[in-house]
């Protein structure tokens, strides 16, 4: 660790992994509810489990992003963090607010939660991923601002690198587009239109800047390749992301009441969205091949390469699969969407945060890399989680294709629930593979507690 | 001094001026075809060919790609051939 203040990243990373575990547990509950419909009903109805599952995902990724930026910004800026104290305060505020929100979801009927938290003042709840009560939404703004302030002040007083600029810009975008979560017009079409400004412009826009910056940072560290080269390609890749991704928002505007031209604009630009992901994969492998040093943390290299590959598969390939308007006409809102969502989020965001944790955590704990044994365990957990998530995506794709066929393409379409009964085999298999994913995650957590008998020196 | 520079500078520009004149001429030809309202397969293919020649001229001689590696010229040329070819295909499909 080069700067003492980088240590504030540690609680963020720990919280991220803990919440990740929570996300997976709720995922398994939902997976079971898909086939055993009354499982845990009425204690945890599906909608509550899903809310917890998706909200935990967002929150743990945000914890990961924050931890990552508190770790890498001091090192990039070559100066101590502006205010480590503020970072710690922000951490506790965010953690407590997140915990209270999740408890609220689980303990209180959603309608009562809405009433008690001032949803009547400003209607923002009850929209997918934006289910948070108003105080939590405001809290996220404050946390994001505090994070942004701390990072910007640090960057301003130190060295300004491309990585820190891109990361800061990504955070700025994250904070800015979050503001659209407060806009909820009665007009459903407008509501949906601007809802995507949060959801799409986050995950297929500004978050990718954060992803790119984090990946570039780790690649510089583990490969020793010239910063000039890596930063140059970082710019090129995120340029392509914005060129394709911003207008690519149109692939959500096909069938929700917006003008027909979005069918063309959305299809054409989002069809190009795999390009930046492909570039990222080629770039990551190239940099590792051209490495000037062999970093003792081999696990981190695996996570980094895994990010680039699975992000391409999940976000690029699986996205392309159903992004063209004529295809999406049949696949819109089916299990195919779920398949894409799972693999893309895991590949692009879960993995990049884990990459960062894998690289930084040993250093935060006072060593360049973990022991051989711990690293082997980490790699096992990488393969278990990645392969099982890939299989889950394949199973959901299978389910989606059958669903589309029976419910939408067929001359004699079956009703939704009748089709779901036909898909049970896919859902059972998904649940089983989900358990494997959980084992992978537990193994990952266990690898932190492996006693370090032969520490690897830098 | 100034006039020296101008002298050396003017010389190679005959070539680009000629290209420019060719481009203008081809544009006017296309325009005249358009004005007469002619249509049909042959007209369509002629117009497309003129278009592709014009873009190739701009890429090669204005952009200066004729001096570059085969790779870049190849990318540019195949772009025009593929885009032009697909357009032609679509138009032929559209002829009843």
């Amino acid at each position: 660790m080069k700067y003492a203040s980088q240590a504030v990243a540690k609680p963020y990373f720990i919280a991220a992994i803990a919440l990740f575990l929570g996300q997976i547990l709720f995922g398994l509950i939902m997976g079971l509810q898909y086939v055993v419909g009354d499982f845990l009903f009425p204690a945890i109805p599906f909608n509550v489990a899903r809310m917890v599952h998706t909200n935990l995902l967002i929150v743990w990724l945000l914890f990961g992003f924050m931890g990552a930026s508190y770790y890498l910004i001091p090192e990039e800026s070559e100066t101590e963090l502006f205010s480590p104290k503020l970072a710690i305060i922000t951490f506790w505020v965010f953690l407590v607010a997140g915990a209270i929100t999740v408890l609220g979801y689980l303990m209180v009927p959603y309608a009562s939660l809405a009433k008690w938290t001032g949803n009547d003042l400003l209607n923002t709840m009850g929209r997918e991923f934006l289910e948070q009560p108003l105080p939590t939404k405001v809290g996220i703004v404050l946390v994001a601002l505090s994070w942004l302030f701390n990072i910007v002040m640090t960057v301003l007083k130190g060295r300004k690198t491309a990585i820190s600029m891109v990361l800061t810009l990504g955070m700025l975008g994250l904070a800015a587009f979050w503001l659209f979560s407060f806009y909820n017009p009665v007009n459903l079409v407008k509501d949906k239109f601007y809802w995507w400004w949060v959801v799409h412009l986050w995950v297929e826009g500004v978050w990718e800047l954060i992803l790119g910056a984090m990946l570039a940072f780790v690649l510089i560290k583990v490969t020793g390749v010239d910063r000039e080269v890596i930063e140059k390609w970082l710019y090129v890749i995120i340029t392509m992301t914005l060129v394709t991704g911003i207008i690519g928002t149109g692939h959500h505007y096909f069938y929700i009441g917006l003008p027909e031209y979005w069918l063309w604009w959305g299809s054409i630009f989002s069809a190009l969205e795999p390009i930046p992901f492909l570039m990222m994969t080629i770039f990551a492998f190239n940099m590792v091949n051209k490495r000037r040093r062999d970093h003792p943390n081999k696990a981190a290299v695996i996570w980094a390469l895994g990010t680039s590959v699975v992000a391409f598969l999940g976000a690029g390939l699986w996205g392309f699969l159903h992004t063209l308007a004529p295809v999406n006409y049949y696949t819109h809102g089916t299990q195919l969407t779920a398949a894409h969502g799972h693999l893309a989020f895991y590949g692009a965001y879960a993995l990049v945060v884990l990459t960062m944790i894998s690289y930084a955590m040993p250093i935060l704990r006072g060593r360049a890399a973990n022991s051989e044994k711990a690293q082997v365990m980490e790699m096992w957990s990488f393969w278990l989680m990645t392969v099982s998530m890939f299989v889950i995506a394949l199973l959901l794709t299978g389910a989606g294709i059958v669903q589309v066929w029976l419910q939408r393409v067929s001359e004699t379409p079956m009703g939704f629930m009748a089709v779901q009964d036909q898909l049970a085999i896919f859902y059972w298999a998904r649940e089983a593979v989900g358990v494997v994913f959980l084992i992978g995650l537990l193994l990952y957590i266990w690898s932190f507690f492996v006693k370090d008998k032969s520490p690897v020196l830098a | 001094m100034m006039s020296d520079i101008q002298k050396t500078e003017n010389k190679p520009n005959y070539f680009s001026t000629a290209i420019w004149l060719v481009l203008v001429a081809l544009t006017i030809v296309s325009f005249c075809i358009g004005e007469t309202g002619m249509q049909g397969q042959d007209v369509m293919l002629t117009l497309l060919a003129i278009t592709m020649i014009k873009s190739q001229l701009v890429a090669n001689y204005f952009m200066g790609l004729y001096k570059t590696k085969l790779l870049w010229r190849g990318i540019m040329f195949s772009y025009f051939v593929i885009v032009g070819g697909l357009i032609a295909l679509a138009y032929l499909k559209g002829i009843p």
Partner: protein, 203 residues
């Protein structure tokens, strides 16, 4: 990358005439150019295939376009591209001032293009035509507007280069910036060269 390195690379290329050159200008912009060509290419082909499904409406709507404003704009852009060629040639021979003059000419012609185009858009809008009128107008407005924005961006780039060259910011040794901007402008030109006959003439 430092400036001296640029100059080194550039000199290396121009003295070694046997070797084929690399792309004129900065490769970073060329990646962008290729991406834009791809986007336009897909749009052109999409137009052609959408037309094939609906030939009658496309042919009928095409007749309402102003062919003369299209041809004027084509000539304007070709000429401005020619000026840019002269500008690059001027700076290669060390004349910042001539470079700036030629590029200003190109910039002004870009302005003419923008005016003609705005007149054309205005005529269509006041006739109540929008992107939702029919598929032909959707493509016509999308493609021309998308291209129109590229002209504006090209003008911003040219403007920047003009100011920099008036301040003698380029020289015989270092004119990568001019070439980079020139490449972008030529791309805007040849995309219009394809767009014009495709949308306005071919039927």
């Amino acid at each position: 990358m430092t400036k001296t390195q640029n100059i080194g690379t550039r000199l290396n290329i121009s003295t070694n005439t046997l070797n084929k050159e690399d792309l004129p200008g900065d490769f970073a912009l060329w990646i962008f150019i290729f991406a834009e060509m791809l986007a336009f290419g897909v749009l052109f082909v999409a137009y052609a295939f959408a037309r094939a499904k609906d030939v009658a409406i496309f042919n009928e709507s095409q007749l309402t376009l102003s062919l003369s404003s299209g041809v004027i704009n084509t000539l304007v852009l070709i000429t401005s591209s020619y000026f840019v060629v002269r500008g690059v040639s001027a700076i290669k021979h060390g004349s910042s001032k001539h470079c700036a003059y030629f590029l200003t000419g190109a910039f002004l012609l870009g302005g003419v293009f923008v005016c003609v185009k705005m007149w054309e858009f205005n005529a269509k809008f006041s006739a109540g035509i929008t992107m939702s009128t029919n598929n032909f107008y959707m493509f016509y407005l999308s493609l021309t507007f998308f291209h129109f924005m590229h002209v504006l961006m090209g003008m911003v780039i040219l403007g920047y280069i003009i100011i920099k060259s008036l301040r003698s910011g380029y020289s015989v040794q270092d004119y990568v910036g001019v070439e980079t901007g020139a490449s972008f402008w030529h791309m805007v030109d040849f995309l219009w060269i394809i767009l014009f006959p495709l949308i306005y003439i071919i039927r």
